[in-house]
């Protein structure tokens, strides 16, 4: 393990107002912030991990029912959303690059684009949810999944109860993911405001970097959610 014994005395004249009193140097502060965000993401991995665990077990138990339920979701929308998120990840790194190279206008543009992609993602998600709601595929009293064939077994219908477990996991996992997107949009609104105020310089843009880490992580979660939820046994 490498350590930062970062305790170089203050360089006078370079003092940044964003340097908090308890840090010795800006480098120490920046490293702490990004390290803290990485650890927070480790927490997030385990948070989703519990859901993945439940998902894997039931998918193995009720594979046919899960496949049938999965097939009822609109995979094209899911794929589009994946692409949207990937584009938003690109705009995030471009925003950071712009900050590093002192292109304030580009940075603001990229932040706005990121947020637009985020909103688009949530919009598409909303359409999906609306479809599911109208098809009575939302778990609960009005849930119904009768006479849905199991892929590859034309004479067999999915067990609605088991399909309901799929949809429960689908809604909890994508819902939690969407919640993270909403939080991400909040963070980016704040970043945009900071960028607008000209707080970010090539020298100091730590909030942008750690906000970006969060955004990319949410992207990674989706990268797994998409094949696991949308693409079970989809082939004709």
């Amino acid at each position: 393990m490498s350590d930062s014994q970062a305790a170089v005395p203050h360089h006078d004249g370079l003092h940044n107002p964003a340097l908090l009193h308890h840090f010795a140097t800006e480098e120490q502060q920046r490293d702490s912030a990004s390290f803290g965000m990485w650890i927070f993401l480790a927490t997030e991995v385990m948070f989703f991990g519990g859901l993945f665990c439940a998902y894997l077990i039931y998918r193995r138990w009720y594979f046919g029912d899960f496949a049938a339920a999965s097939k009822s979701i609109n995979a094209a929308l899911g794929a589009t959303n994946t692409a949207v998120l990937i584009c938003s990840s690109l705009t995030v790194v471009l925003a950071i690059w712009a900050a590093q190279t002192a292109r304030r206008g580009l940075m603001i543009l990229m932040l706005v684009l990121t947020m637009l992609f985020g909103v688009a993602f949530l919009g598409i998600k909303g359409i999906e949810y609306k479809d599911k709601f109208e098809e009575h595929h939302v778990p609960g009293v009005s849930f119904s999944f009768d006479h849905q064939q199991i892929p590859g077994h034309p004479d067999q219908y999915a067990n609605p109860q088991h399909a309901q477990i799929f949809f429960a996991l689908y809604f909890i996992m994508t819902g939690l993911h969407a919640l993270h997107m909403v939080v991400g949009l909040g963070i980016f609104t704040w970043l945009l405001w900071m960028a607008w105020k000209g707080r970010f310089t090539p020298h100091y843009h730590t909030p942008l970097e750690i906000g970006g880490l969060y955004w990319h992580f949410v992207d990674i979660v989706w990268i797994y959610l998409f094949p696991l939820l949308y693409l079970i046994d989809r082939h004709p």
């Binding site: 009720y62 046919g64 077994h153 004479d155 067999q156 219908y157 067990n159």
Partner: protein
Amino acid sequence: MFDNFPLWPQRASSMAGNVDALFIFLLIVSGLMTLLIFTAIIYFAARYRYRKGVPAEQIEGSIPLELSWSLIPLGVFMVIFAWGAVVYFKGRTPPRDSTEVYVVAKQWMWKLEHAEGQREINELHVPVGRDVKLIMTSQDVIHSFFVPAFRMKQDVLPGRYTVAWFHATKPGTYHLFCAEYCGTQHSGMIGSIVVMEPAQYEAWMSGGTGGPLSATGEKIFAELGCVTCHRSDTQGRGPNLQGVFGKPVQLEDGRMLTADENYVRESILDPGAKVVKGFKPVMPTFQGLVSEEQLNALVAYVKSQSQPGAGVAKANAAVTAPEGAPGKGNQVQ
């Protein structure tokens, strides 16, 4: 005073000795370790107490010591582990020709039904010296079947069967507890196991009414119309159930599994889950249509179909000549 102040539980099953032996071994091992550590601490604390002008002597540590006090305990632990595993496997593996009792747990009572048809509540009569296998399920929450004198405990789960077994060695009445917290009257979900001499047990048995559980099962089997598909020839829309139980089954998706109690149970409640190769998933579900007791009877019936020369006549004969009698119990597990 000591009548009411026991320090060791009664020992009334074949497992009790095994568990106690390991427990005593553990007591000795941990007693020795405690003695060693406590003696060292007390001795050092007294011998090296603060004295004016006598400074502490700094010692860095010692790798040989560290290794020995990690590896030696590890060796002891492995002995404990292996011994514990052997005892556990013994306790988890019911002997082949056990007498079977179906247990249905619910808040807050135990319902027990002998394969011969006797029903009991919160009380189980068993003969001494016979292997008894419990096939257990719960109607509501998780319970746990615990008989301290037998050193036996198994959680009873809703939605599936769990199995436990014991071999009582001493006549008497023993506590039956629910050991998994199950709600308000959890502490009231207690009962007793009455272990009787074989002759007494036969007498008690003959006092009962009703046919064997498998016969009840056969009646239900007919009433629900199962017979129309599960025919005793190869023409039915469902598999012929004769000789199926305990045998490997090939499923429609190629998997192989053994037709055990849980498989039969699942096939009744969720027929589409594991369809036998060569059959269509046409069977309707019976979830909600049969009670746990009826389910048990059906399982017992399917099971009876795999006993040698299976049939109603034989199953009826079981009343007069209970299973476990010599030459009877070659039921395949």
